[in-house]
């Protein structure tokens, strides 16, 4: 679902003013455009832009010293570190497992595959608090499986793995479906073994999707709140992730330091998404 989101760039102004007969003619700018654009911008500003700007403003209000002090208090720093490290690990597990899942869903066939394929999107649809509750029940103190991960970092990682599961699968799957089997057969006819075919033919074609899925999983992971609230037990220095830490600060009316940690999170997400965009552009220029 989300896979389309970052790739849909065809609406941008990237087209050169070249073709004499453009394929999709656009209406010239006029009063209705201005009116619609104005309404959309007001809506976006009131709900997204001004509030986010307020967060940045709040964190910068008392100068860079205050900002730095807020994000480096022991508990904030520990939460940020845990969030970033856990998210990197989770993203990497997703990179491998997501690709494997996509592979099995596309290339293998077994009874129940269709059900499993549908189920992959469940983490997108299931409320995060429900996910957290169910995971705590399954992997908590009363675990029917006898696995107790409650209040541990592994437990946090499991929650993050659950909510980020669809990203890599759903970006890699369509590419794999479209992948030309003739290419693999051509390689085989030239004497390439299975591993060589995977490494030299399939992997290079999947890589852009794998990277973008992994980046999306990472940004989702650092932002995650609901699913980690219950299973983490909210233990500072141990299992408290950044979003939960910010929540605590807001509860304590300490909005300034909440804003500082929020800004740090936003900056990390922004850097990852911009890097992803640059890598994709670089990749599409090459390819």
């Amino acid at each position: 679902m989300t896979s389309k989101i970052l790739e849909t760039d065809s609406t941008g102004l990237g087209t050169p003013p070249g073709p004499v007969r453009p394929v999709a003619r656009r209406r010239p700018p006029g009063a209705p455009t201005a009116l619609g654009l104005g309404s959309a911008m007001i809506f976006l500003s009131l709900i997204v832009l001004i509030p986010l700007a307020a967060v940045l403003w709040k964190s910068a209000e008392h100068g860079p010293g205050f900002f730095w002090k807020s994000v480096t208090t022991p508990d904030a720093w520990a939460a940020l570190k845990l969030t970033v490290v856990a998210s990197i690990i989770v993203a990497l597990i997703n990179l491998v497992m997501g690709t494997l899942i996509a592979w099995v869903l596309v290339r293998d066939s077994f009874p129940g595959k269709a059900v499993l394929d549908t189920l992959i999107d469940l983490p997108f649809a299931l409320p995060t608090i429900v996910a957290g509750l169910v995971l705590l029940e399954l992997y908590g103190a009363d675990s029917p499986l006898g696995i107790n991960l409650a209040y541990t970092r592994v437990g946090v990682a499991v929650a993050l793995l659950f909510v980020t599961l669809p990203f890599v699968v759903r970006t890699v799957q369509p590419v794999l479906l479209e992948l030309d089997r003739d290419m693999e057969q051509a390689a085989a006819s030239l004497g390439a073994g299975n591993w060589t075919i995977f490494r030299r033919i399939i992997l290079p074609n999947l890589l852009p999707a794998m990277v973008s899925g992994t980046a999306l999983a990472f940004t989702r992971s650092i932002a995650e709140f609901g699913s980690t609230v219950l299973i983490s037990g909210n233990l500072p220095f141990k299992t408290q992730v950044a979003a939960v830490q910010i929540f605590g600060q807001i509860e304590n009316d300490n909005t300034a330091s909440a804003a500082a940690v929020s800004t740090a999170l936003l900056v990390v997400a922004f850097v990852v998404l911009v890097t992803l965009d640059l890598v994709q552009r670089w990749g599409s220029r090459r390819g």
């Binding site: 003619r25 656009r26 455009t33 509030p51 429900v130 979003a243």
Partner: protein, 273 residues
């Protein structure tokens, strides 16, 4: 496919190894949680499940959830369709930026969304204070929860509709114009039917997200029991107060809504193709 993979795909052994690894991973991460939800629901029969859901607090939480979700879906639908048409059918300076801004909410933590709204609309901000002086309360009240929900679900309708609008092209709309249809008639009779499935898909997606939002709503609602408590907040509150059956009943209801949404989405996706 199975026969052909014998030619070029991995060998039979690695195929089964892969299958087992993937199935085991999905079993522990995805299938068991779903089974657990089902088991918890029917563990003591349906009676206690419904009893837990029909308490006064639970019913109130349902009500708050649906009010907030309906407002958020309505706003996002209007905004989503309008913006999708702007992006696909019109040209204007700054289109790239608008396109990027729409995806912004995906990268923002729900808690940060809540904080952002509090900073602008909260009682202690100048704008929020001014509004409160005029009797308009946003934070710790329904409007704030609607704003938070709109924020987190913002891209869903736009991103569902944009590709379909692009694929549809504008020839049908131009044909309607040459036949005498005005802007509104063209929109209602040609554009809307053309994007119907995608729009429905986007709306269901948006509704599911709105019903299930927790973090952003937790921050802006103030979590006032019996007033601004949504279902997700109710789940958390009951769980923290050691009322597991109530928490699980509500969680199960939410999960069922999610699963139904998921099935509807799959159906609409297939129809759109």
């Amino acid at each position: 496919m199975a026969e052909r993979s014998g030619v070029t795909g991995p060998s039979v052994v690695s195929k089964y190894v892969l299958r087992v690894v993937v199935l085991a991973y999905l079993l522990f991460l995805l299938v068991l949680p779903v089974v657990l939800i089902g088991w918890k629901t029917f563990q003591h029969g349906l009676g206690p499940f419904f009893d837990a859901l029909t308490t006064h607090e639970a019913l109130h939480a349902f009500q708050v959830t649906f009010i907030v979700a309906l407002w958020a879906v309505a706003l996002n639908t209007v905004f989503g369709v309008g913006t999708a048409i702007l992006l696909v059918r019109h040209r204007f300076p700054g289109k790239r930026i608008l396109n990027a801004v729409i995806d912004l909410p995906l990268a923002v933590s729900p808690v940060v969304v809540g904080l952002a709204l509090i900073l602008v609309y909260g009682r202690f901000s100048s704008f929020g204070g001014w509004l409160e002086d005029h009797g308009i309360k946003i934070i710790f009240s329904t409007p704030g929860m609607v704003l938070a929900t709109v924020f987190v679900a913002l891209p869903l309708v736009v991103r569902a509709v944009v590709p379909v609008l692009e694929e549809m092209g504008d020839e049908q709309e131009q044909a309607a114009q040459t036949l005498g249809a005005g802007r509104w008639q063209t929109f209602r009779r040609i554009t809307v039917p053309g994007i119907r499935s995608a729009l429905a898909y986007g709306i269901v997606l948006c509704l599911a997200r709105a019903l299930g939002e927790y973090g952003a709503v937790a921050v802006v609602s103030g979590r006032l029991v019996g007033q601004t408590q949504t279902l997700t907040l109710y789940v958390e509150e009951r769980f923290q107060n050691f009322e597991q059956p109530a928490a699980f009943a509500a969680a199960t209801a939410l999960a069922l809504i999610a699963i139904v949404s998921l099935l509807v989405i799959k159906l609409l996706q297939r129809k759109a193709d």
